[in-house]
């Protein structure tokens, strides 16, 4: 095994071009487990810790450009207003020790269907900035996941940053597990309301071979909200609408039975999470949300 230690992004791309089999390592929270357990013996490890720019983020007009190695702890602490869904999801990642090391770039690189960041990224809307010595491209998050632990990266490409749409409305994230910490999702659900475009987006984790959106559920809910004039009136969403949204969300799943849960349970849990996150986000949109503490105090 060789340990490659590029000092800059350009050096990292050159190293990856020269050694396409090199495994990038940043937080190490996935890669080191595989090495410790002898599940993987890469020929080259490509350490990205010295590439300082990967730990930086920038808040722009419409998007947040989040460096691939920004640890979850910093997302929780600094980007809660701009990326509420991702901040909530980050808070559910493992433990403080893991959140201090792991970042969204690693989640995307591993592309596990159980990765906690994925539902939040799918719901918010995002593009992954990947680069190689050949150039840079932006992959829409909807096209990024191509199979179980597979993504759209070419062998010589590295993930540099994720461009995530800043929240224009309430976002929520919900995750089912056996504990509040140190848990791989049995399944997870992200929901973002986009009042600016009068759309809603979703993301489902651990309930299909890849993280997926529940597009039919999104379209149904957006149409129901539009037709009923709910965006203007801010009225409560009728239970029948919430129920159908939840059922359509479960319909988008293609889960398996495994050690963490059965397919049947996962479908049911997605139904419950979809209904709950809709309730939470809609309450917040109406100004009664649990995330708008100021309102609660004034009310």
């Amino acid at each position: 095994m060789d340990f490659l230690r590029p000092a800059s992004w350009e050096e990292a791309l050159a190293a990856k071009a020269e050694h396409p089999t090199a495994v990038p390592i940043a937080g190490g929270t996935d890669v080191m487990v595989e090495i410790n357990f002898d599940h993987r013996r890469p020929e080259y490890l490509l350490d990205l810790n010295r590439v300082a720019e990967l730990r930086e983020w920038e808040v722009g007009e419409e998007n947040v450009r989040l460096g691939a190695s920004v640890p979850y702890t910093l997302i929780m602490e600094n980007l809660r207003a701009e990326l509420p869904g991702l901040a909530l999801a980050s808070h559910t990642v493992a433990s403080p020790q893991i959140r201090n090391r792991g970042g969204v770039g690693g989640n995307l690189g591993t592309a596990s269907p159980a990765g906690d960041a994925h539902p939040a990224l799918l719901a918010a809307g995002a593009e992954v900035e990947v680069a190689s010595v050949r150039g840079t491209r932006f992959i829409p998050i909807d096209d990024f996941y191509t199979g179980v632990k597979r993504n759209a990266l070419a062998a010589d490409e590295l993930i540099r940053a994720v461009h995530i749409k800043k929240a224009a409305g309430p976002q929520q994230f919900s995750k089912v597990g056996t504990r509040n910490a140190m848990v791989i999702a049995v399944c997870a659900f992200g929901l973002a309301l986009h009042p600016d475009t009068r759309t809603v987006r979703t993301g489902i984790g651990s309930a299909a071979p890849t993280p997926v959106r529940a597009r039919e559920a999104e379209e149904f809910l957006a149409a129901a909200l539009e037709e009923g004039g709910f965006w203007e009136s801010g009225r409560t969403v009728p239970p029948s609408v919430a129920r159908q949204f939840a059922e359509l969300a479960a319909g988008a799943c293609n889960p398996i039975d495994d050690v963490r849960g059965s397919a049947k349970y996962r479908r049911h849990a997605v139904t419950v999470m979809a209904r709950r996150t809709l309730g939470w986000t809609w309450d917040e949109y109406r100004g009664f949300g649990r995330a708008t503490e100021g309102n609660e105090r004034c009310a």
Binding site: D2, G28, V33, S95
Partner: protein, 204 residues
């Protein structure tokens, strides 16, 4: 490969390090610092928790090559670390509530000269959190204790008056199979209370 880094304020050089080796293995097997415990090797249990440039991490998930030129504090150096922090920050508990140790502070930190040695952790004086663990009976088999001490010490450094929820969150990455955690929570509360009392005593 050779790795140069600082452990408990003292520069170290580890030779013949395998490229896939973890920081934990280097600490235990090459530097003779077995305080950080090797249990799950997958970041689940927190027994190997150390500070890397001031930040608590699982040393089993840090590749040895990634620590080149960086600062590590292990449980062996905890008493020294807490003492220096107290002396520089003027808060006896080490609980300064200033949002943690900056990389700059971590790098300026120096070990005591040999004698009161942070290499073995066997010098007489304990960190306040260590004393609190003893006094509260928070140690049973002791295997999880080093990781819990490092994590709890870091909590009190950035949050001098943690709520129970803060303590549970900060220690949620450290598993203990003996105590049921109650005595561990007691120990952290005790260390926090002693820290406050000491601060009040200074008229701060």
């Amino acid at each position: 490969m050779r790795v140069n880094f600082t452990v408990n304020g003292r520069p170290h050089e580890a030779d013949d390090v395998w490229e896939g080796e973890s920081l934990l293995y280097v600490l235990r097997e090459r530097l003779g610092l077995p305080g950080s415990k090797n249990a799950c090797e997958q970041g689940e249990c927190g027994s190997c928790t150390v500070r890397l440039d001031g930040v608590p991490v699982c040393s089993c998930l840090v590749a040895a090559g990634q620590v080149e030129g960086r600062e590590v504090v292990t449980v062996e150096g905890l008493a020294d670390y807490a003492k220096q922090r107290a002396e520089s920050g003027g808060c006896a508990s080490g609980a300064c509530g200033n949002g943690g140790t900056s990389v700059g502070d971590a790098q300026r930190w120096q070990a005591e000269p040999a004698g009161t040695d942070s290499q073995t952790g066997e010098q007489g004086e304990l960190a306040p959190i260590q004393q609190a663990f003893i006094d509260a009976g928070a140690v049973q088999c002791g295997f999880c204790t080093p990781g819990l001490l490092v994590a709890a010490d870091e909590l009190l450094e950035r949050n001098a008056e943690p709520t129970d929820a803060d303590i549970r969150e900060a220690l949620s990455g450290n598993l203990c199979r003996c105590t049921g955690y109650e005595k561990i929570l007691d120990a952290v509360r005790l260390a926090a209370a002693r820290g406050e009392a000491a601060t009040a005593g200074q008229g701060a």
